[in-house]
């Protein structure tokens, strides 16, 4: 595999892209681009990248990359991605893919017309634990169909100083997103549900509010708590919980099928099987705890083996996603994340933000009235 890669957007997340691309044999970052020339320079200097640009057009014309990773703030994803696709590049677009489903559909249609591959930065779905879970699901462990899913995505706002700095800075790019903080962070948790939903549409009920902690810091307009209920065309249901207040900070995905269940802990990188059938009588109180203990020990051993094999990096999911995209480009195989899933994720997010923005009950929520 030999690909020439370029990075557009040289902020914090660009570091992990360059680091993981360099772990893929034969692939080289040949150019970086940022509107701020000093930012492009610092990334190029630190990673020994030959070319740096301030303008995307110049990057595309002079470096002629095979793949472009777009790591700019989400507001610019659509326009930068469109230009790159029209220039014939394959794309890795950081999450959230676009600001809305309409933009996502337009980019995907353009990519299909140009026969280019693209993916979105839902790298958590390619972590070791997530890939083990996927293998179990594909192997029929859950039974068919998936009955219900629960996705928990906790978010640490940091200490009060950091939280205040973010909350009081109206110019922060996250604050400028149409749906603010939620738009920047919930796609990981939504996408893993979307992967297993059927059809193209889902019914979504959303409830969002400001946590007491953020209220105490003076934020009345930054939703940091979200509860969502989702039903697809096959009556597969899912719940999504986003919380900055709940402890521990969970990053869980739970799936329940007609036969068995699975629990994936993204933070701890564990996969635990939930046996569908119960043991007889008192055995149900004594055997399952031993089975769970055994499973957790096996997870520990598995993670240790991965670490010793030098494949347990913090961004290992990103490396596997990038490698999957590059493989699909070289081999002409499907991209690692189906277009349907990207659009479904965007549609669910659109629906959530629409309800949070337009809900008639928003006023009483803001006033703190409950019933």
């Amino acid at each position: 595999m030999s690909l020439r890669v370029a990075i557009v957007g040289c902020g914090k997340i660009a570091d992990s892209h360059v680091a993981q691309i360099r772990r893929i044999p034969g692939c080289e970052v040949v150019g970086v681009c940022d509107r701020e020339p000093l930012m492009a320079r610092q990334l190029a200097d630190r990673f020994g990248i030959a070319r740096r640009f301030e303008d995307v057009g110049e990057l595309l014309a002079e470096v002629v990359p095979d793949v472009v990773h777009i790591t700019t703030p989400p507001q610019s994803h659509f326009e930068v991605a469109r230009r790159c696709l029209e220039h014939g590049c394959h794309l890795y677009v950081e999450k959230p893919f676009t600001l809305n489903a309409g933009e996502a559909e337009e980019l995907i249609a353009l990519a299909e017309r140009r026969r280019r591959r693209l993916t979105v930065g839902h790298d958590a779905q390619f972590s070791h634990a997530a890939r083990r879970m996927r293998e179990l699901v594909r192997g029929g462990y859950l039974g068919d169909p998936v009955v219900h899913m629960e996705s928990y995505y906790g978010y640490d706002l940091g200490n009060a100083t950091y939280a205040r700095a973010f909350l009081r800075d109206p110019d922060h790019w996250v604050r400028k997103l149409p749906a603010g903080l939620l738009q920047n962070v919930i796609s990981h948790g939504i996408a893993r549900i979307a992967e297993f939903l059927g059809g193209d549409r889902a019914h979504v009920i959303a409830h969002g509010f400001v946590s007491p902690r953020l209220r105490s810091l003076g934020a009345e307009d930054v939703y940091d708590e979200l509860r969502v209920f989702i039903v697809d065309e096959r009556q597969t249901t899912a719940s999504f919980t986003f919380s900055s207040a709940a402890r521990p900070i969970l990053n869980h995905f739970r799936m329940f099928g007609s036969k068995n269940g699975l629990v994936v802990d993204e933070r701890q990188q564990t996969v635990v099987k939930l046996r569908g059938a119960a043991f007889k009588s008192y055995a149900e109180q004594f055997v399952p705890p031993i089975v769970f203990a055994t499973q957790y020990l096996a997870n520990t051993a598995h993670n240790a083996r991965l670490f010793l094999a030098n494949d347990f990096h913090m961004d290992s999911g990103k490396k596997h996603l990038i490698a999957g995209l590059y493989r699909s480009i070289v081999e002409g195989s499907p991209a690692p994340i189906p277009s349907r899933e990207i659009v479904m994720t965007a549609r669910i997010m659109d629906s959530i933000f629409e309800q949070l923005g337009d809900s008639a009950s928003l006023a009483w929520r803001k006033e703190g009235v409950s019933c």
């Binding site: 040289c10 902020g11 914090k12 660009a14 570091d15 680091a19 360099r22 772990r23 701020e36 000093l38 930012m39 610092q42 990334l43 200097d45 630190r46 100083t161 205040r164 700095a165 973010f166 909350l167 009081r168 800075d169 109206p170 110019d171 670490f307 030098n310 347990f312 990096h313």
Partner: protein
């Protein structure tokens, strides 16, 4: 007196960036003590003015809300000022990019705004001992400002060092190419009431237990009020343009002495002393593993860091004393007493 004469009158407007921070607020207070009456502070809209409130109750301080990432805000802030004290910086806790953006890009914006000013007499850029490499210095040797600066600061594995080294270089370039009169002030470890962690020069609690890496090394402390005064003087003294000045106090404790005092006066905790050869071996092995594993463990411990922090060099403040007429007014014993007292009241945090 002529040699100590100020380059600007006390009624000349001065700008302080980072004025809401731990050191910046003390710089503003020190400016007031030196008779400056027109002090302007640029503070982000998100910045808390809590640390400045004590000064603002007694003196008029002009607070301009703005962001150094905005060239327009920089233009507004530097208008007509005679001295710029540039303390705002990225701490590097988030990422290299974040530290660079909030240290180097912001400094460039400020310098661009300042170079058009006919009133500017000095740009005081706050650097750090973190930029020194010490690789070629013998252990135990006392170092001055001629000590080499990291040539590849990105290899230190420390965003703050990278950003500060690049900031220093940028200020030097602007000084040479565009004639901006500047001074680089390099404080050691600034401490005082308000600091809650223990500097990594003493050790690290990253592994769940505190590894004492500093041993018999002298810790280059500077009490916040002493440091603030040196910074103020660097902005007004004649004859220091283009200089780098180390700011460090006298009668400093060794790492072992500091830790003993800390445990006695603040909180007892378990620490494991790591001899110098062992700390070097730890750093070398960590660095090699990090490179071999392609970053499975980030290179936070490496030989460059060992040379800079744990090799055992001390620093002299002779140049700052000679050129600025500065002397640390708060003795180290008194500074440590105030520091430990504040930690007992507010609660310590071991790094």
């Amino acid at each position: 007196m002529s040699r100590r004469a100020a380059i600007s009158a006390p009624d000349a407007p001065v700008l302080v960036t980072g004025a809401t921070g731990f050191l910046g607020a003390r710089v503003v207070a020190s400016l007031m003590e030196h008779g400056f009456s027109d002090v302007r502070c640029l503070a982000r809209p998100s910045s808390d003015l809590e640390r400045l409130e004590a000064v603002m109750r007694a003196h008029h301080v002009d607070v301009i809300r703005g962001n150094l990432l905005s060239p327009d805000d920089c233009e507004r802030a530097v208008r007509d000022v005679a001295v710029i004290y540039h303390l705002a910086a990225g701490t590097g806790e988030k990422s290299f990019a974040d530290a660079f953006l909030n240290s180097v890009v912001t400094t460039r914006n400020l310098l661009d705004a300042a170079r058009g000013s006919a009133h500017l007499k000095r740009f005081v850029s706050i650097s750090s001992f973190a930029v020194y490499t010490n690789r070629d210095a013998r252990s135990r040797r006392r170092l001055d400002e001629l000590c080499a600066v990291e040539d590849r600061p990105e290899l230190r594995g420390e965003a703050y060092c990278f950003a500060k080294a690049r900031q220093d270089a940028l200020v030097g370039e602007y000084g040479k190419a565009r004639g901006i009169p500047y001074v680089l002030v390099r404080p050691g470890v600034v401490y005082g009431p308000g600091v809650t962690g223990i500097t990594r020069r003493i050790g690290s609690g990253a592994f769940g237990i505190f590894l004492h890496l500093g041993g018999s090394n002298v810790i280059p402390l500077t009490y916040v009020d002493n440091c603030a005064e040196a910074i103020v003087l660097a902005g007004i003294r004649n004859g220091v343009d283009g200089e780098a000045l180390n700011v460090v106090d006298d009668d400093l404790p060794t790492s072992r002495q500091f830790l003993r005092l800390y445990k006695t006066h603040v909180r007892a905790f378990r620490s494991i002393p790591v001899p110098r050869p062992a700390s070097y071996a730890l750093c070398a092995l960590w660095e090699a593993y990090s490179a071999w594993s392609e970053g499975q463990l980030p290179p936070v411990f490496n030989r460059r860091a060992w040379h800079a922090y744990w090799k055992g060099n001390a620093y002299t403040n002779a140049k700052a004393k000679r050129l600025l007429g500065w002397t640390p007014r708060v003795p180290t014993a008194e500074g440590l007493r105030r520091y430990f007292e504040s930690l007992r009241e507010r609660g310590p945090r071991v790094a």
